[in-house]
Amino acid sequence: MEVVSRAQVYVVIPAYNEGTVLSRVVTEVKRAGYAVVVVDDGSTDATADHAHAAGAAMIRHPFNLGQGAALQTGIDYALTQPAQFVVTFDADGQHRVSDIPRLIDALIRERADFALGSRFLGQAPNLPPLRRLVLQAATLFTRLTTGLQVTDTHNGLRAMTRRGAAALALRQNRMAHASECLSQIGSSGLRYVEQPVTIEYTAYSLAKGQNLRDAVLILLDLFARRLYR
C-alpha cells in the first residue's frame, strides 16, 4: 500500500535531556529509511551531540520552551523541506518504528490528513493502572470539549500529510499541546483516522512521562488559553 519514498517522511522527535536513549531511537528510525528531525529543546546534557552523531537533522531551541513548542518547531522545519508526510515520535523509546509505515498506510488508504496512534486500540504493556485512569479521564475530557470520538488523546505517535501539518499551529508550549492538537484537527475539518499502535513502557519512559499533577496543569493551561486570543 505504501507508495511514497520513506525519505519524504519526516519523523519529528522533540527531545529534552534524552541523551542516553535518543541515539538508539534516532538510529532505528534512520535505519528504516526515514528523514529524522530532532528538536533539542534547550537540553543541558549531550542530547544534541547524540542526535547529531546518529545522523538526525538538528534544530536547537536556545532555551527550554516545552514539548509542544518543540513539536511545532519540528513541524515548521519539516514544511520547509520536501516532506510529504510528518510523523511525531517520542524520544524516550516508548514508540515502535514498525508503527510508522502502518500510520502512513492508514493516511493513504483512508485518504485522511491525520492518523492518530491509539494505545487503547493497540497495546500498552506495563501501563500502570493509575496512569491508565488519568489517560482515560483525559480522553473523556477531550471527547466532551472537541467532539472528536478518539480513544487515546495523549499519544505522541501520530502521522499527518503535508496539508495536515500546515493546518496545525500549536500555541500550548507544554503538555496541553496534545489536547490543543486534537482541537485544531477538529476545527480544521480535515479527515482523521485512528490506528492501533504499541506503546512500550519502561522505567525510563515512566519516569519521564506525565503524572497526575501534570494532568491538573494541563487542565489549567487549557482553561487559561480560552480566556485570551
Binding site: 537533522a57 538538528m58 534544530i59 536547537r60 536556545p62 513548542a69 518547531t73 515548521d76 485570551y228
Partner: protein, 108 residues
C-alpha cells in the same frame, strides 16, 4: 485628613495611569477610572460606603471596600497572567524562527 490627602494623591496617580492606558486598552482604562473615582468618592464620603454596605447586606463600609479590593486584585492578577502568556508566545515564535534559520544554514 492627612490619610485622606495621601489616598487622594494615590488615586489621582491611578487616574493618570488610566489615561495613559486608554490607547492600549479602553476597557481597562474605563474600569480603572471607575474604580479610582469610586475610591476618591468614598475617601471623602466614608459614611456613604457604610450606607451602601448595609444596602447590599455586608454591614460595615470598610468590609465592603475590602471585599471589592480583593476581587479587583484577583482580576488584575489574572490580567497580568494572560499578558505574561502572550509575551511567552512571542518569545516562543522568536526562538523558533532563530532555531529554524540556524538549522537551515547548518543542515544544508
Amino acid at each position: 485628613m492627612i490619610a485622606q490627602l495621601i489616598l487622594s494623591a494615590l488615586l489621582a496617580a491611578i487616574l493618570l495611569y488610566a489615561w495613559t492606558e486608554y490607547r492600549r486598552s479602553p476597557a481597562v482604562a474605563f474600569l480603572t477610572v471607575a474604580i479610582a473615582t469610586s475610591g476618591l468618592y468614598f475617601v471623602w464620603m466614608p459614611e456613604h460606603s457604610t450606607q451602601l454596605a448595609e444596602l447590599v447586606g455586608i454591614g460595615r463600609g470598610v468590609d465592603l471596600i475590602l471585599y471589592v479590593w480583593v476581587c479587583i486584585s484577583l482580576v488584575v492578577l489574572l490580567n497580568l497572567h494572560l499578558k505574561l502568556r502572550t509575551q511567552t508566545e512571542l518569545i516562543t515564535m522568536l526562538a523558533r524562527k532563530i532555531a529554524i534559520t540556524d538549522a537551515q544554514s547548518r543542515n544544508t
